[in-house]
């Protein structure tokens, strides 16, 4: 059946799974009521933190830690233990070599095997690449010690929405330590049980290019593999032979870990070139001829938000889960999906719904293209291709609900892309996370 342009469809947001299989629609509610998904299996008993802070931020730290300890207990059911605090003067922050020396000196007396994460407090946010403590501490800790770093600016240690900000920092630190705050209660794809979702991104380093971290999730919404990989790239295009060997290696590694695969869904951040499509397809075919492939490209160009129009010609932001087909671009069917819009927290009356959705700041929809469906999949679904497209929208929407860096749990893109993009941006600053375990989300 042909796709109908602008035919609105809806996917119900997924239910999330917390400790002892208890479910909730909302991450914060689920965490508070039941605790994190890995409550009984997590490999650490306490969340041990080493803090590096500017001296002038000391006055905010006590209150911050007081709230953080309380929230850690309420949300994550874990004790937050501050192993040590290193306070530095402003000038010591400016000299990065000195800054790192001071950190090293302090760390000598700490048992690093027991340390979960370093909390770095920064005077201000800076995007510069050179001599920036944000990148330099990460380079040192991830490259040498295998410990992830969580940063927060001094301005976020106080002020409005403090609890929410601290909650997000705690979730970040938990995921960076290898914790799993929540999972999906329903499978990502309702059609194919043994599907894996592989996301990758490319970032620029002074003229040469490299691929960021590959992030792979299984159909239960569990992270099963992540690795940073360098690939030589000509201009914007990855050669098919290079992408082929890299996908093949990833598939072999994933199956070695005991995962079965019947469908491979590849998420590409940005436009995908034909060379890459050919490479991915032939890697999957060589791996197993029966394996089905879906290749999705998520172009960076923005698309507008989706609104609800009320009777008095006022507008509000439509809630999440709506999607529609818009047409073809380069012969690839293009869809818009509202992943990050307004989310009614409870059942609302019409008036309440109107008020909240009108007061929500606009967020653009996500645009994605189905760049390629393998022949075996097309053959199998030819009678019901719209179910396949519906399932693809569901996969993307469900995977966007696994953002462990936010208390709302939402990202605009699926986490495969969201994390790969973050990682690849960090990798361009020279960070080499060679000593950290693959299941610790160091880039979050």
């Amino acid at each position: 059946m042909a796709l109908k342009e602008f035919e609105l469809k809806w996917i119900e947001p997924p239910t999330l799974k917390f400790a002892k299989g208890k479910k909730s629609k909302f991450p914060l509610e689920g965490l508070k009521n039941h605790g994190p998904f890995d409550l009984e299996s997590r490999p650490f008993k306490k969340l041990k933190v080493f803090i590096v802070s500017p001296n002038f931020a000391k006055k905010y730290l006590d209150k911050f830690l007081q709230i953080a300890e309380k929230l850690a207990d309420e949300m994550l059911k874990i004790k937050l233990e501050v192993v040590d605090i290193l306070c530095l003067e402003k000038f010591q922050y400016r000299n990065v070599a000195n800054y790192l020396n001071e950190v090293d000196k302090k760390l000598e007396n700490i048992n690093k095997d027991e340390l979960n994460v370093v909390l770095q407090i920064l005077g201000a946010r800076s995007t510069k690449r050179e001599d920036n403590p944000y990148f330099e501490l990460r380079k040192r800790m991830l490259g040498r010690e295998g410990i992830a770093v969580q940063s927060i600016t001094v301005s976020n240690l106080s002020g409005k929405r403090l609890k929410a900000k601290i909650g997000n920092v705690l979730l970040g630190m938990y995921a960076k330590s290898g914790g799993k705050p929540w999972q999906l209660a329903e499978p990502v794809s309702s059609l194919y049980e043994k599907t894996i979702y592989l996301g990758y991104d490319i970032s620029l380093i002074e003229g040469a290019r490299r691929v960021g971290t590959t992030i792979v999730y299984d159909n239960k919404g569990q992270l099963i593999y992540s690795t940073p990989i360098d690939i030589p790239v000509v201009g914007e295009i990855i050669k098919s032979s290079h992408i082929k060997s890299y996908i093949r290696h990833a598939l072999i590694d994933i199956t070695k870990n005991g995962n079965e695969i019947d469908t491979v869904v590849v998420h590409r951040d940005g436009e995908i070139h034909n060379e890459e499509i050919i490479g991915i397809n032939s890697a999957v075919k060589e791996f197993n001829n029966k394996t089905k492939t879906i290749i999705i490209s998520i172009p960076k160009t923005g698309v507008p938000p989706l609104f609800i129009q009320f009777e008095d010609n006022k507008y509000g932001l439509a809630d999440n889960g709506y999607y529609f087909f818009t047409g073809y671009k380069n012969k690839q069917p293009t869809f818009f999906l509202q992943t990050y819009g307004f989310e009614p927290l409870k059942f609302l009356s019409q008036e309440e719904y109107k008020k909240h959705s009108m007061e929500t700041r606009v967020v653009n929809m996500l645009q994605y293209r189905v760049a390629k469906l393998s022949n075996n999949l097309l053959q199998e679904m030819k009678e019901d291709i719209s179910s396949l497209y519906h399932d693809i929208a569901r996969q993307i929407f469900f995977l966007s609900r696994l953002n462990w860096g936010s208390g709302f749990g939402k990202a605009r893109t699926p986490v495969t892309i969201h994390y790969a993009h973050k990682a690849s941006k960090l990798l361009t600053s020279g960070i080499n996370p060679r000593n950290i375990r693959w299941d610790k989300l160091w880039m979050i």
């Binding site: 602008f6 035919e7 995007t127 989706l306 818009t326 609302l348 929809m365």
Partner: protein, 365 residues
Amino acid sequence: MQSNLVVPIVGPIYFRLNRLFWFPIKNANEINRMLFEKRSRENLDIIINRVTKKEFVSRGILAIPKAKGIAFLEKIELKEPYLFDKKSGITLHLGQLKEIHPRDEDIRRLINSFLSQKLREVCHSFSKNEYYFEQETIYKFKNIKFLIYQGLRFQTIFHQNHFYLILLNRYKPLILPTMDKLLSLPEFEGITAEINLAGIPLNTISEYSLKFGKPAFAGRLKKIIWQNKKEYMKRLNNIIKYYEKEGEAIYKYIEKKLLESPNQPIIEVTQRNYPEPLYYLSSLLVLTPSTSVISNFLEHIIGTKDITRKILKKYYEIVTPLPSKYMSLSIKWLEKIKEIIQNSSFLKTDEKFGFIKMRRDITWH
């Protein structure tokens, strides 16, 4: 109960383009061979594209490069059967005008080119494919103004005989006055400017970019070359030589700018894809700070955190509007597009024209 969901996608817009008029380039193979022998970085397509823009698009004639030639919407007559590309020194010899059947790609390019051309006639332009129509001043300090321009970017969705336009609201923060005047203020005297402004994006003033078809984005600030610096005269002479080659109109314009502000600094900028830095007269440039550097910049000129925070709040509210405000801007853009279509000979709308509306069922509790 049913309710309307609306998305700022405009359509359907119907088009009638059954034929195009195409000038083939007779010496295409020769040019290709010559470029290959010279190991030139450029190819024939780049040269055709440049000539098309310069000779036709900038004069309001709708034209697109097509298959070793140039295609037009309407039959045109040229005085001479050749076109000269100043930059490469290559002359394109044109063959007989032919009537051809357009491909989907040609139609898409022509319509995109037509819409950009028409929107550019009524907008301020600060970057490629973005069209700004309205401005809001959010802060004024002495002579310095912090403005946000509001406008749109569009994408097209093509179908067989119609298309849709995806409208996306865009916002551009801008600091006025132009760099020559800004740098003469005590806040930006001497070397301080380089330290505090380094890396900030700069745009050319829209008068310069629109009138002469020059790039709207200049690059990121690397260095300020003041009049008392050794290299100043060398850079200035190079700039003058460059505009001499670019034609009389632009040369006169630059001359005027130099007379208005005689000792204006020269700005060295860098662009991601250019290995060499570029040099601009500061009177042609304005600061367009990105969100990430705007707070540092404001703090530098204002000095107090409290006021900076208030301005940033206002800035944030404009660039991340509430739904009704977003839609009110989109409706204005829709009207502009409607007018362009109504005045076009090959585009038309019907009674369905407007934003895409979709029905949904809601159960209120």
